[in-house]
Symmetry: C2
């Protein structure tokens, strides 16, 4: 697909003869991920006509099912849901989809400085460093509360908190090397980044967002399984949610149509996609912030918005899944969860389907490890990830039936996972432009949410909020 | 111009009939700024055929002449050249263009905490804070030497230096509020940013680059006038350099043709621009890193490159120029240079043409001030900037003959000035992708230089280097 229409002479020739197809709707939505599809559903329910335009030949954005035989799937993108994520949970329920608990029984593995230690799945890593640094880490919740979810850029100490990286905070506030290592291990899968990449203000915003209107956000809820963001999984895979949403919008979702330009005129907008032009009264752009910067706008966007999206990169994350006949680690009373100081796969989860077969081990390769390992061969990555699994769970891990991986940084229509984040200086100066509409353009996507940014719940919330904005306008 | 070809029905209709115009050359260059034009010149001299494709309807990129009457011009973009900038100086000379000294006679003004102090133009601000913090600031040169210009990402302490912002360094190393204020005042025009926006490693790289192969870079050379990067100006305006380069390439520069896609095939490349398709053996992309991310590549770029350009935003800079009958400040023995802790125009220069008339006062509005003031009315900006000038140089400054401004963040084909910079974590992880060719694609632009990054000299060097890369290939 793409600008290189010249690379598809037949399509180009056809377009030259006929020009792009034209459609008309009350609202056009750019992006058929969870945010865009949720927005489209809300608009349709309110009686508006809608067209969703999607660059890929599939729906679901950062969710992706991969069939692993026997009707089972592996989640190659977003995988987990948990308490306080009310909006995605309600959506899942309304679509008749089931969730089930993430396997969280027995012992987790900690592998630090070559020493393998077991600890209860419901507990904390036993390292003295963790114990010593826990108060400081938990102290982030209070700072997060101070920052809030609605306009962290207006917080009293916003400039100060946005002047340093999370690494600088860790250097000043954590006393042990293990504490810093554990923080790194949490940051890599959560943001696809390193502590040095992240603004402290942004991290606090993100922690504040790990809750809902009744329950203040907390770091523990963000990173834990039982009672936390990894508590449950989606039977049939998370992409099923988008597939069902799209089905209900049958005929209104245009795939394979990357959007090149958005023109605002008196009374309406035109969305110019590959081979398709949609005229509507409003547009909801529901793609990662960095990708919104790929579209050409007429009139041009305000400088603040144009500069924001230069400053909100997508994280770096590779999901690796090894498939075994059975989840053999369960026999050894292991939960399948590990944290380690050596990569590439420094955190793992048991991602076996609900019925317990086949065994699926998920490894997250994030941040620095993802950047380094993405440049090596798939065979080298496979060998290194399986060695990690073996070090955590035993030699049986070396011989999977199959091995899958998904490098989200290599996806042209995502550019990285799990989320677009900000380095220091950005949220304070540009945060206000994140979801401020520009005329008839409204912004959605998990990055624009106030709760559960970076999660499916944030995507759903953002789609609902953008749809409500549009509905209020008419 | 742009994707919204539908906004120009006649052009669209014509293109539908005929398809894009086609050209062929040995090398196609994307971007007719100093980097691209220098590359094209070098290739032409080596006997290669070349086509330069430019989005704007003018050449010169971040240089821009604005006529102010009587044949004089104001530099609305890059303005200064200085010692060790050998490549731009040689180019200027070879084109028969003259330079002349930036006015640097009499006293500079310091306005800190409401107190206006004068100090010699060749000296330092007299504030005790500056004296106290000077050793720490000068100490950056030694750190910069350690980092070097060729591969700062490989420096021994690269990860550590790229884990913090310049603000964090200042907090730990500067002892006075004035020291921090002066640093801010230097950072705003130099990077269009705040100390909190910048990685310490990147700043050290940039300082190391403020020199040449024989003279190590220094902070003082970066920020001073006599003997420094602001030493001289270009008679006729800096855009004249590009105009002359383009004239010598007559018929080979295509204006108004934004590039949408680059396709690499066996044996060659195709560059797909608005209404134009160029076939060549190699392509040199000579535009700011963030804009290289707007082009669609087939095959797609390596993830490391695709993620780098999400992480290298353009700075935020507004240049304001007030025109007076004469440079009246000279009568009061003032140099026209000021530093202040209150914006929007916190640094100024006498930008009068060589013959001394009319008087032109230049104010830089950068970083935070540029972000805030860009959203206000032009009348409000004008009043605030002229008030700054009056506070520095007297009430006569309030009544200019005319007032000009250029907000580079609002330029779709630049996205910000003076330079693309990096926040923490980026140079260490992604720096190696900055000028590494991708097949037949070579990268130029001042950000890819090893010396005088962000300056015209860096642009010229980068164009020469990219041309040499291509010539070596054949």
């Amino acid at each position: 697909m793409g600008a290189a229409a010249a690379a598809v002479p037949a399509a180009e020739a056809k377009r030259r003869r006929h020009g792009p197809r034209r459609r008309r709707a009350d609202v056009v939505v750019v992006g058929a991920g969870l945010a865009g599809l949720t927005a489209a559903r809300a608009l349709k329910r309110a009686g508006r006509s809608v067209v969703v335009v999607e660059a890929r030949d599939r729906v679901g954005g950062r969710t992706l099912n991969h069939a692993i035989g026997g009707g089972d799937v592996a989640d190659m993108g977003a995988a987990f849901v948990g308490p306080t994520q009310d909006h995605i949970l309600a959506l899942i329920k309304s679509l008749g989809i089931k969730t089930f608990p993430t396997y969280n029984t027995g012992s987790n593995v900690q592998l630090i400085k070559g020493v393998r230690t077991l600890y209860p799945a419901e507990g904390l890593p036993p390292d003295p460093g963790v114990t010593q640094d826990l108060p400081a880490l938990l102290g982030l919740d209070a700072l997060a509360k101070e920052v809030g979810v609605n306009a962290p850029w207006n917080a009293a100490r916003a400039a100060e908190l946005d002047s340093q990286t999370l690494a600088t905070w860790a250097e000043a506030n954590l006393q042990t090397e293990t504490g810093k290592t554990i923080l790194e291990t949490a940051v890599q899968p959560n943001w696809g980044a390193e502590p040095r990449d992240l603004s402290l203000l942004y991290v606090l915003f993100y922690i504040a967002a790990a809750g809902n209107e009744k329950n203040p956000g907390s770091l523990v809820r963000l990173i834990t399984t039982g009672g936390g963001a990894q508590e449950s999984r989606v039977h049939g895979g998370t992409q099923l949610i988008s597939a069902k949403l799209a089905k209900a919008l049958a005929g209104r979702v245009e795939l394979g149509a990357p959007v090149r330009g958005i023109t605002q005129r008196k009374g309406g907008v035109q969305v110019h996609a590959e081979g398709l032009e949609v005229h509507a009264r409003h547009v909801i752009v529901a793609i990662p912030p960095t990708l919104t910067g790929q579209i050409e706008y007429h009139p041009k966007l305000p400088a603040k918005r144009a500069q924001l999206v230069q400053r909100m990169p997508q994280g770096t994350l590779i999901k690796c899944e090894a498939i075994y006949d059975t989840p053999f680690w369960r026999d050894d009373d292991l939960s399948g969860q590990a944290v380690a100081d050596v990569g590439p796969a420094r955190t793992t989860f048991d991602s076996t389907p609900r019925d317990g077969r086949p065994g699926v081990m998920l490894g997250f390769v994030g941040g620095h490890d993802a950047r380094v390992w993405a440049e090596r061969s798939k065979a080298a990555r496979r060998a290194a990830v399986l060695k990690n699994f073996a070090d955590y769970f035993g030699a049986e891990a070396l011989k999977p039936k199959s091995y899958l991986e998904q490098d989200w940084s290599d996806e042209v229509w995502t550019r990285g996972c799990p989320v677009g984040f900000t380095a220091p200086g950005v949220l304070y100066e540009y945060g206000a432009a994140l979801r401020r509409p520009v005329g008839r353009i409204h912004w959605a996507g998990t990055e624009t949410s106030t709760y559960w940014i970076g999660y499916m719940d944030g995507a759903v919330r953002s789609g609902q909020r953008a749809a409500a904005e549009v509905l209020r306008k008419k």
